[in-house]
Each structure stands twice: as C-alpha cells, then as structure tokens.
C-alpha cells in the first residue's frame, strides 16, 4: 500500500489522539505534532512543513524547527508510522 494512503488512514482527533488502524496502536500528539501529521497527509516536504509551522504558531526566536521536524519524523518512523525517508537537516 502506498505511503501516503497509509498516512491518511491514521485517524487523528481534535485533541491529538491518534489511532493506527493497521497496527491497532494509539498515540498522543501535541498541537505541533498534529500539525506535522496533517502536513504529511497533504504530502508536504520538511521545508514546507517548517514554513507551515512558522505561519501557524508563535515561534520563539532561536527555535530550530528544521531539527524538531526531522526528529519528529525519525521518532514517527520508529513507532512504525509510514513516514517518508528524510534527510538530516
């Protein structure tokens, strides 16, 4: 099954509760995590995601969004999520 479709199958609630129908596992995301998952479902690249986050959130100077997104994607892969391979920032 293609990656994007599997990502789209992840059910996300308003509160950040995620259900993966393929594994039966459940997860919690914070608001930023949820925004990233939604962006992944739209097929965005890391760069586009970072831009989205900057637009959607009040970001403190000094925050390294590229690193944060990269780390999140690695973590998501480790949890078995169908996340596309990413390059280190």
């Amino acid at each position: 099954m293609d990656t994007l479709q599997r990502l789209k199958d992840l059910a996300v609630s308003e509160s950040g509760f995620v259900f993966d129908p393929h594994s039966g596992q459940t997860f919690s995301l914070n608001e930023t995590g949820r925004a990233i998952l939604e962006a992944l479902k739209r097929g965005e690249t890391v760069e586009q995601i970072v831009t989205d986050l900057r637009q959607g959130f009040e970001v403190e100077p000094g925050a390294d969004l590229g690193r944060d997104v990269h780390e999140f994607l690695l973590l998501a892969r480790e949890q078995g999520w169908p996340v596309p391979q990413v390059e280190a920032p």
Partner: protein, 448 residues
C-alpha cells in the same frame, strides 16, 4: 499578541498499558520557581549551576517536629546530629543551635565537631577509632561507643595512659524481623557476645559502662523495628541493673528513619509510605516502656536521626544542557549535574520538577548527568514536560548524604547555598575549581 498558539517542540507518545504507574504521576507536577521565597533563577544567576540549595526553615521545622514528637512521650530524649549525613559547618550550626549533640564516626568528623560543641556533647561511633582519635575523644570528654573487643582493649590502654576512667557505651547489634541485621557493627545480643563484652569491660576496671547503643539500619520504613529495638535494649539495661550492678545512663537508638524519598524498589511514592516522626516516636516509647530501672534513674534517650531531618531541606538545581531522542523513543535530557554530585540517585527515584513554568504534553523522559559513564543517570523513567537547553530543573529532597558522599570526578563539586528564614541566601560551601584539585597535587621531583 497574534492569537496564534505558541510553538512547542512536536511530540509523539505511544500509549502503553501500565506505563503510567512506572513513570509516576505527572498530573500534579508544578514548577518550583522559588525556594523559600527566593527565585531559583536568581540563585543560579548569583551562584551558578549546578547548585545545592538548603532551606534553613525546613531544617529547623523538621528538627522541632522530631524533638516535640519525642518530648511529649519521653522526658529525657535528645537528638545527636549525625555528621556523616551533612557536615557542612553551617548545617551543623543550625542543628546545634536547635539543641542537638554531635554524632561522629571518624577523627575528621570529631575534629569538625570539636570546633562547634563541647566534647561532652559529642558521641563517637564507628568501627575505626585509632588511638590518636580515642585519646582526643577521652580528653574532650566525648561519649565513646565501643564497636568490638579490640577497640575495647585499645580504649582501655589509652584511658589508662591518660589516667582517666571514661564513661563509655557498647554498641549492640540484634536480629529484628524484616530488617537485614547490621551485624558487622557492635556486639551481638542474641549470641551472648554483648554480655561477654559487659563482663570483659567490667573486668578491665578502667572504663565505666554507662550506655547502650544500637543502630538498626537506614531508611527503615517499619516503625515496629524501633519498638523492638527499644524493647531489647531496655531488657538488656534491666538485666545489667539486676545482675551486673550496672545502671546505664543513656540508651542510644541510632538513626535510620526514612525521609520522604522513594526508593528505586518502592512502588508507592515516599510521601505516602514514610511514617511520621510521631509514629516513630510512639513505637520507641512503647518499646522503652519495658525499662524497669529505679525511679530517678531513667536513662537519657539519644536518637541519631540523619536523613529524615535534612533530606527535605536540600534541593539540587541543575540546568538542561541538551535534549536528545533515544532510539526507543524516549526523550533524554543531559543535565549539568549527575551522580558525581547526586550520589543518592543510586538509591532513590528522585522527585524532579522544572524550575520554570512549562507547557506541552509530558512524555517518557530519562535524565542523564554530564559524565561519560553509563551509570550517570539522575532519573531513568519519568513523564516529564518537554524542556529546552537552558531550562532549569530542581531535584528535591537531596539534603542528606549528597554533600558528604559526592565525588570529585572529572569536574568540580558545585556550590552549596543556605536560604535563611528571612529569605536571605548565602554560601555554605564555595564551588570547587581546578585550583581546589591542584592544591592537593605534587609532581615528583624527577618529573619536574
């Protein structure tokens, strides 16, 4: 304000059944931004990080709580501050000001105590008392508690040489249900060794047997151990009065009360299981009810409570140096203080809280110290909010044993500060530096 939500580092936590208990509660976690009214941030700015901070108010109130719990049940009870627990001069001063004697277990501690109190206000314990230390103690009039037969003979020789007949006590060990016996210290009760020591001491004709001492363990959460210890020492005192013509003047029940910490092996948090001082005191009073000495000859009861008096007063402020993600998904924080400063991390699941307001969903986190060693773990599993480099964390209840057992390994020992009851902060011990290290070193001439 733009109305946009504040950015937090993205977070993902997989739900695992049963994990919450292991990680302990997080719902009630509140930042600890001040210690007795002094902002943690101000303390760090002034004294650096990591930093041990002690609350004088806490030391005093714990001390008074214990003293009061004892005095309503036992007319002649006194506390002896266990120096090994924390022998910073300033801490000892607070204890002595509150009426504690000094309990020491080495010549170094004896020297330290002699600068603060009269020799007669010192109890000298421990299995290693070289002749020079015994001589110093006898000259000062300290109460020497004898640990073994060789020491008994050595003490006699020293006293004879000094022309003194000092009053001494015998340390007794005993078996108590549910308690691992500390049989390596003192004379065993059940085997009859304790009575042999009494006979031997009396036959020597030099020392006067005036006290009995026992210390049944440390972090003893079962008050019944104290009831039984007190009863057994009372029965021994009765026997000495009845059959050996010895009327003891003091019974020392040692230390060992648990503090509010949580042992690694413990399921429930410390504050839910640790008995109150009143409960310990009640058990002791019940055990001592077995005493049957003539009226007016009731012995003084000493307690050498250490950690339970000072643990709560001490906090370690540490700074997040870096955050990383482990392959198992856990968040790891690298702190500027580790087991080198926080020896008690080996014993306790320490209570750690952020020192500034925090936001974001807590996630499974491990707290590492700065050492290049696998054992350098401050907390191995907890649910902790996402923190960033530069954020501060307070490790609570670390006042006992850390500022004596800390290691000088690859880095300096941190400064130690006291916050007064009026909110003043001052150094009790300066932060070490490479000069501290070099002051002790010599380079042999052939290498110079």
């Amino acid at each position: 304000m733009t109305g946009k939500p504040t950015y937090q580092r993205p977070m993902l936590v997989r739900h695992q059944a049963g994990l919450m208990n292991k990680l302990s509660r997080v719902a009630g976690m509140r930042p600890l931004t001040e210690i007795d009214g002094v902002p943690v941030a101000a303390l760090v700015e002034r004294f650096g990080s990591p930093l041990f901070v002690f609350s004088e108010r806490s030391i005093v109130s714990r001390h008074r709580e214990l003293r009061d719990a004892l005095s309503v049940r036992l007319p002649k009870a006194r506390l002896a501050w266990s120096y090994k627990t924390n022998y910073l001069d300033a801490v000892c001063k607070v204890m002595h000001r509150e009426g504690s004697l000094a309990e020491v277990v080495s010549e170094m501690e004896l020297d330290k105590a002699l600068r603060q109190v009269a020799g007669t206000e010192i109890i000298f314990n421990g299995p290693y008392k070289p002749e020079g230390a015994l001589e110093k103690a006898f000259r000062a009039g300290a109460r020497v508690h004898l640990d073994h037969f060789d020491e008994l003979a050595r003490a006699e020789a020293v006293a004879r040489r000094l022309g003194l007949a000092p009053k001494v006590a015998l340390r007794i060990n005993m078996s108590l249900p549910g308690i691992t016996p500390w049989s390596r210290f003192g004379f065993n009760l059940e085997s009859g060794q304790a009575l042999d020591a009494v006979r031997r001491l009396r036959a020597g004709g030099v020392l006067q047997l005036a006290g009995l001492h026992a210390h049944v363990g440390t972090f003893v959460q079962d008050v019944d151990a104290y009831r039984q210890e007190a009863r057994k020492l009372s029965e021994l005192a009765n026997l000495l009065a009845r059959e050996h013509g010895v009327m003891v003047e003091w019974i020392d029940l040692g230390g060992g009360f648990a503090s509010n910490n949580t042992l690694h092996a413990q399921y429930l948090p410390g504050e839910q299981v640790t008995p109150s001082f009143a409960q310990y005191a009640e058990a002791i009073a019940e055990g001592l009810a077995a005493l049957a000495l003539p009226p007016g000859r009731e012995p003084t009861i000493f307690l050498e409570t250490g950690r339970a008096l000072v643990d709560e007063a001490g906090s370690l402020v540490t700074t997040v140096h870096a955050t990383k993600r482990l392959t198992d998904g856990r968040r790891a924080l690298i702190l500027d203080a580790g087991v080198n400063s926080l020896f008690t991390a080996f014993w306790y699941r320490h209570d750690v809280v952020p020192a500034q307001p925090f936001a974001g969903t807590p996630e499974p986190t491990i707290l590492y110290g700065p050492l290049c060693m696998a054992i350098d773990v401050v907390r191995d599993q907890l649910l902790f909010p996402p923190l960033s480099p530069g954020d501060r964390i307070v490790v609570r209840n670390v006042g006992a044993y850390n500022v004596t057992q800390w290691m000088q390994f690859i880095t300096d020992r941190p400064a130690v500060v006291l916050v007064s009851r009026t909110g003043e902060a001052a150094l009790m011990r300066r932060r070490e530096s490479v000069e501290t290290l070099l002051a002790q070193e010599e380079v042999p001439a052939w290498l110079a």
